[in-house]
Amino acid sequence: MNNMIIQTHSLSKTYSSGKLETPALQGISMDVPAGSFSCIIGPSGHGKSTLMHLIGGLDRATFGDVIIDGVKIAGLNDSELSDLRASKLGFVFQFFNLLKNLTAAENIETAMMFSANAPKGAKAQRVRALELLAMVGLEEKADAKPSELSGGQQQRVSIARALANDPDILLMDEPTGNLDSQSEKEVLDQLFKIHKDGKTIVIVTHSSELAAQAEIVYEIKDGRLNDVIRKGGTNE
C-alpha cells in the first residue's frame, strides 16, 4: 500500500548477554497508514517498547527491516538515522525526558539544533518554540524549568518538543502512564488535536480507554504480533 508511512517486515530483536539470548520481538510485520492514530498494546515485558524503539531507529533490529516513509532504516548510517529521527520522527516518553537544566522553551529549541527542517537562527527558533508552547497551552511557562512544571505540563512540553521539527510521525511510549486523570485528559486532548492536523501517531499504552479511541490497535504478546484491530471491528 502506498500510503503506509511505517512498515515493518519480519522484525526481530534478540538481546544477548554472554551465551544467554533473549528474544524480545519475533517476526513482526505491520503497516501503519499515514495520518493514522494507532496504539500498540500488550502485557508488560512483551516487546511493545522494543518495537517502538526499533520503529524510531533508536535500536537496530536483529533481523527484518523497518521502512519509514519509503526509507529502509537498516541501511542508514548513524548520521542518516539521526537525521531521520530529527526530521521525520518525534518522540514522547512516559517520564517526559526533558533536559532538567533547560527551560521549557530551551528544551524545544534543543530539538531544533539537530534538524535541517528547523528554523535557522536563535530568534526564529525561539518564535517556533513559543508557538508550540502556545499550541499546548503553556506559553506562560516558556521560562520555567521542568522542576517548576506539573507532570501534565512537562508532558505537554515534551509533545511540543516532539513537534519542533514538524515531523510526520509521533511515537509515544506510555505518554499518559505517569499522569493523573486531569493531566491525562489534557494530554490526550492535545494528541487528538495533533492527529487532526494530519500527523501519524503511534502510542504504546496499557490504557484500554486510549486504545479504544485509536483507529488501529496492534496487540503484541510474547514478542509477536498477536492481533491487529481496525476501527469498525475488523480483526486480522
Binding site: L58, D78, S82, F91, E109, A111, F114, A164, N165
Partner: protein, 386 residues
Amino acid sequence: MNMFTLVLRNISRRKGRFIFTLLGIVIGMAAFVALLSLGGGMRAEINDQARAMGANIIVTPADWCTFDQISIFTGESLPASLQEEVLDQVRELDGIFAVPYLTQMSAIQNVPVAVIGIDPEPMKEFSRWEIADGQYFESSEQHGAVLGAATAETFDLGVGDEVRFRGEVFPVIGVLESVGSIDDIAVYLPLPVAQVAFEQEGFISYIGVQVEHLDQTDAYVAAILDVANVAVNTNDQLLETVMGMLGSIEVTLQAIAGISLIAAAFGIINTMMTAIYERRREIGILRSIGSTRADIFKIFLLESGLYGLLGGILGSVVGVLISVFAAPTLLASFDQMMKGASPEASIEPMTFVFAIVFAIVIAVASGIYPAWKAAGLSPVEAISYE
C-alpha cells in the same frame, strides 16, 4: 540554542564539581606559568650579570669543574689554585688586558659575603668603577677594604667603619658607586693583602681578560693556552654552560608542573566519565531528538575544552600573580646565590598564549576518551537508564 549554551548549562548545573575540576587545571597551569616566568627572570638576571662582568675571556685553573666556573657569576668562594705567575704570562700577550681575582667567602654580621682580592688600579679601569664615598686604594699593599654599594647599604657600613675577616680587622676606606652587578655585593681588598689574610700567597682564583679585538677572540684564547696550562672560556661559553644548567633545572621544575597538569587531566577524565554515567538519560534524549554520535562527541569535547580554556586563562593569571608577587620569596635562595641580585619574573605574552593553548590541548585530549564513550552509548540503553 546551540552546543555552547547547552554545555554552559550543563556546567552551571554542577558548579561544585566544575570548580574543583577547574582548580586542578588552574593549579597546574599556574605552576607551569610561574615556573616559566621565574625561569625567564633567572635567565635574564644571569645574562645581566655576565654582561656586567666586563670580561670577554675567563682564565681558570685547568682542573676547575663546571660548578667552579659558574660560581664566577654568583660570587661563591672559589678555589685559589691558579699560580700568580700565570697572570704575568697572560699580561705579556698583545691586545690583552688581564686582571686577577681571588674570591673567598667570609661573613659580616654572620651573613656570608664575598671577599675579593684585586689588583686595584687595573681593576678600577677594567670594571669602570667610580668611588661614591671615601677613597680608592692608593697602593696594592694598603691595609683597608673598599665596599660594593649594596654591601655598604645592607650592613649599614661606611668610611671609618671596620670589617673583620679571618680575625683581622680592615678599616673601610671607600664605597663604590653601584654598577648593578655582583660587584655591588662584595668587599674588595688589594690582592697581596687578601692573599695573606686568606693564606693564599702566590695564588689567585681566576683571571678576567678584556681583548682588544672581539672578532679575534679565538686567537687570543689560543695564545693564552700556548703560554699556560689553564682552562680558557669565553664569557659566552660560560654563559652557555650556566644557561644549560639552568635549563636542566627549569626542565625538572616544568616536569613537576607537568605532573600536576597530568593529575589535572585525570581529574577532567574522571569528571567527564562521571558525567557520562550521570547524564546517560540526557544523552539518550539528545539521541532521540536527532543528535548524531558526532554531536554527542562534540558536546562532551567542548565541555572538556572549556575546562582547558578557563583553566588556562585563570591558571596563567594566577601564575603571573605568583611570579610577580611571590617572586621575592620563591627566589630567596636564588637571590642568595646571586648575592643580592634581585631577579624579577620575566612575563612574555607568548608564555600566556602558549599556556592557554597548552591547557586547551591537555583538556581536549583528556576529554577524547570520555567523549568517545558518551558518543558510543546506545540511544535506547541511554534513554532507558534510571
